[in-house]
Symmetry: C2
Subunit: 366 residues, 2 copies
Amino acid sequence: MTPPRPALDLSLLPDGGVRWLDASGPNSDIVISTRMRLARNVSGYAFTGRARDGERLRMLAQVRDALGAVPSLSGSLLVRLEELATVDRQLLHERHLVSKELAGLDPQHPIRSGAAVFLGESVGLLVNEEDHLRLQSLRSGFAVPQAFESVHRLDQELGSQVPFAFHREFGFLTACPTNAGTGLRASVLIHLPGLVLTKEIGKVLSGLQQMGLTYRGLYGEGSEVVGNFFQLSNQTTLGRSEEELQDLLVRVVRHVIEREEEARRVLVRDAGYIIEDKLWRAYGTLRYARSLTFDEAMNYLSGVRLAVGLKLITGLSVYTLNKLLIFAQSAHLAHLEQRTLTESETNLARAKYVRQVLVSEGGGVE
Amino acid sequence: MTPPRPALDLSLLPDGGVRWLDASGPNSDIVISTRMRLARNVSGYAFTGRARDGERLRMLAQVRDALGAVPSLSGSLLVRLEELATVDRQLLHERHLVSKELAGLDPQHPIRSGAAVFLGESVGLLVNEEDHLRLQSLRSGFAVPQAFESVHRLDQELGSQVPFAFHREFGFLTACPTNAGTGLRASVLIHLPGLVLTKEIGKVLSGLQQMGLTYRGLYGEGSEVVGNFFQLSNQTTLGRSEEELQDLLVRVVRHVIEREEEARRVLVRDAGYIIEDKLWRAYGTLRYARSLTFDEAMNYLSGVRLAVGLKLITGLSVYTLNKLLIFAQSAHLAHLEQRTLTESETNLARAKYVRQVLVSEGGGVE
């Protein structure tokens, strides 16, 4: 008999681990969040992918023991992913707290023994991901320096307790050479409905790529984009300093924000009432639909988010909309309903949840 | 200098002449209204189309003088159409009180001198239409006998005061031979979304035609149908008695109502939540859109009307929806805004009006 799986209790985390959704950061009408992560490996162990089960567990134990002297993670919640049901691992992934690979949701990478995450207030430490350690910080809005500072502090604190694999020439060693060097990946999650509606987005995205950044949709891999949410990040970490990477991201994202703001002004100027109508219809559909697919919900939320940014819709906060982005995902809905849901049940539950939130957190919208 | 046109004051009429919208009649969830009209001509005058201006005016005067002895029209409001601005004539037409031809809105028939209508509580008398007189009764719901009784009483009362052109063999003589005989045209305005959604409508409509009925959309001529509203009426008036025509209409319409009810049961049984979602989205769009074309408004209203019929949406009356059908038309909106509106202004005004009515008369809908 297998013992019952422990339930995941995210209520132990401040804000359930989604403080980064609260729209308190700079430019948070356009930039949802900034994420910084550092890839590190611990000397003396094979890379995760090649390590044996026991080796991964020993490495986890060593890190765990070291955390007493790491203030950034004091009081953090340790989640052993292999102990969780799939739906709970999916929930952590939907909340952006663990990667798909670490959560064992990627068919090519089933859940690994020793896969774990330490969740602190504004930083997280993923253990036994592709690299032994992934240090990450997630912040509300366009907050590159703040996110870097958090993850950098964790890096310093942890590095003084645990020996990181480091090479004089290549810098920090990583399982995949594209992460070697600083091991830094910096990304922002940005909402660009104006550029999509004005059909400027293609130009902006190819400009990004020329400057060494890459993009993908908020959900799923590849270039699939839903709801006009884009994740912009640096392509390489080798051969550039952490400062250069941050500077590049800041410069490019600032430019993208300006282009988006300009596109919004153009939309309002040239197609004011058409846009207004379109966005209010999106609100009306979210407010009353009885079934919503994920893509639909994201696309309509995108419209409402733009309307709130343009002050066409008032009485509804960006925080509420950000929460809907995350909590209207299927594992969250299954968690809410406390049972496994079929696809069509998920769509019904999503519509019900969205309606409830719009009524309770934006009842005055007209 | 032309004297200012007198403004049309429909508030002088009980319910503004639209008591037939109040959904008090039988089967009014499916049948909006029943209309009966009798075509009559007055002996001693050329048919309207061939009469001179003076002749038409003399005929009108003769009828007017006779009305003192016509209880059905006691206290009726005389509207001289030629004295009204186009928008006011259009308003009367939108309210189903005068025909397009009498209102001078048909490009082939500009407004005629002597064109007038006497508007009583449940009957109307159109003067100088294609025929000298068109007696009409408009009732809420599926009310063939009641509508016939009203128009028949008016016919008896008026016929005893005014000499109608009558031929022993052909019956009542009319300008167009298709109206000769009883001169009776009976029609119902019926809402058939279930048959349209189940794709049964084609079969039902061709069945109708085989039984001697004809159909057209609620608005516009020809077979153009908007919002799943159909006007079903008898094709010929010659060679059948008034009773036979009524019986036919009653029998056929009852059959259509049963088919519609069956289609609705099938929809709910086989596609319950898909339908529910579709209809609530229609409500959400009407409730929040900022611009609505007439066709869109009718199609969404059709959805909401079906939802109210299926009791999926409660707290909203069929009367409210019927009023929207009529009052969301362009002349009504121009009247409401008290100015001429361009097409896009009309769409904005329509969305605003629909929103206001849905809030004030169905605020509790969730």
